[in-house]
C-alpha cells in the first residue's frame, strides 16, 4: 500500500481558523498520511513560538455564538478581542479541545512538515527567530512539488 499524502494551505491567523489545519494534519498523520502544511499570509502567525497573538474577534463574525446579543458598536470597544479570545479559550478547554500549542506539537511529533512561504515572511518582515523549528522556507513551486502528488489538498 503506497502512503497517502495530504497538503494544506493555511492562510488565516485567527484562533478559530487556526484549528482546522492542525486538527486535520494531526489526524491525517495518525491515519498514516504523509502531511505537509504550507503557511502563507496570516497563517504564518501559527508558526510563531508565542501564539498569544492568535485571537478571535466577534467583529465582522456574525456567526460566532455569543452568550448575549452584542451590538456591533459594543464589539468595537477596546479590549473586546481579548475578552472574546479568553472566553473562547475557556470554552475550548472546558470541552476537552486541545490548545493550538498542543495540536501543533502533536503534528511535529507525527512528522507533519511545516513550510513557510518565503515571500510573505519577507512581505510582513517576520523575524524567523520568532518561529518554531523545524520549519522550511519555500515558494509556490515547491508547494506544487508536493501538492501535485497528494490525495487530498485543502485551502484553509
Amino acid at each position: 500500500m503506497t502512503t497517502k499524502k495530504m497538503a494544506i494551505i493555511a492562510t488565516k491567523g485567527t484562533l478559530d481558523m487556526a484549528y482546522p489545519p492542525f486538527i486535520l494534519a494531526s489526524t491525517a498523520a495518525a491515519l498514516g498520511y504523509d502531511v505537509q502544511i504550507f503557511f502563507t499570509f496570516y497563517g504564518l502567525q501559527l508558526l510563531r513560538k508565542d501564539l498569544s497573538n492568535v485571537m478571535i474577534s466577534p467583529l465582522a463574525n456574525p456567526a460566532m455564538p455569543m452568550p448575549i446579543p452584542m451590538p456591533v458598536m459594543v464589539q468595537m470597544l477596546p479590549g473586546m478581542e481579548s475578552i472574546a479570545t479568553m472566553m473562547m479559550k475557556q470554552k475550548l478547554k472546558k470541552h476537552g479541545v486541545a490548545s493550538l500549542e498542543e495540536l501543533r506539537d502533536l503534528c511535529l511529533e507525527a512528522d507533519v512538515k511545516f513550510v513557510a512561504c518565503q515571500m510573505t515572511v519577507d512581505l510582513f518582515e517576520f523575524d524567523k527567530s520568532e518561529f518554531i523549528e523545524p520549519v522550511e522556507y519555500a515558494g509556490a513551486a515547491a508547494f506544487f512539488g508536493f501538492a501535485g502528488e497528494t490525495d487530498i489538498c485543502l485551502f484553509v
Binding site: 494531526s26 495518525a30 470541552h95 476537552g96 479541545v97 486541545a98
Partner: protein
C-alpha cells in the same frame, strides 16, 4: 475481554482520542489489544474509520456508564 494496554481519553475532544490512540499503539506488538475509553461521542465513528484506514482491527465497541470502550487490536 483481555487487553494489553489501556488508554483513557475521557474528557478529550476530536482529534485527541484518535491521535493519542495512534500514539498509544506505537510501542505495542502486532496482535496486542489496546483498550481505549472515550467520552467524545464522535469517537464512535472515528475509531471505526481509524481502524478501516490503518489496518488495525476494532474488535469491539461498547458503552459503559456514559463512556465508550473500544478494543483495538494492533495490525
Amino acid at each position: 475481554m483481555n487487553f494489553d494496554k489501556e488508554f483513557n481519553a475521557s474528557g478529550m475532544s476530536c482529534p485527541l482520542p484518535i491521535v493519542k490512540t495512534k500514539k498509544a499503539l506505537v510501542d505495542m506488538a502486532s496482535g496486542q489489544v489496546l483498550k481505549v475509553i472515550a467520552t467524545d461521542s464522535g469517537a464512535v465513528k472515528d475509531m471505526q474509520a481509524f481502524a478501516d484506514q490503518t489496518g488495525n482491527t476494532l474488535l469491539s465497541t461498547s458503552e459503559e456508564g456514559g463512556a465508550y470502550v473500544f478494543m483495538m487490536q494492533k495490525k
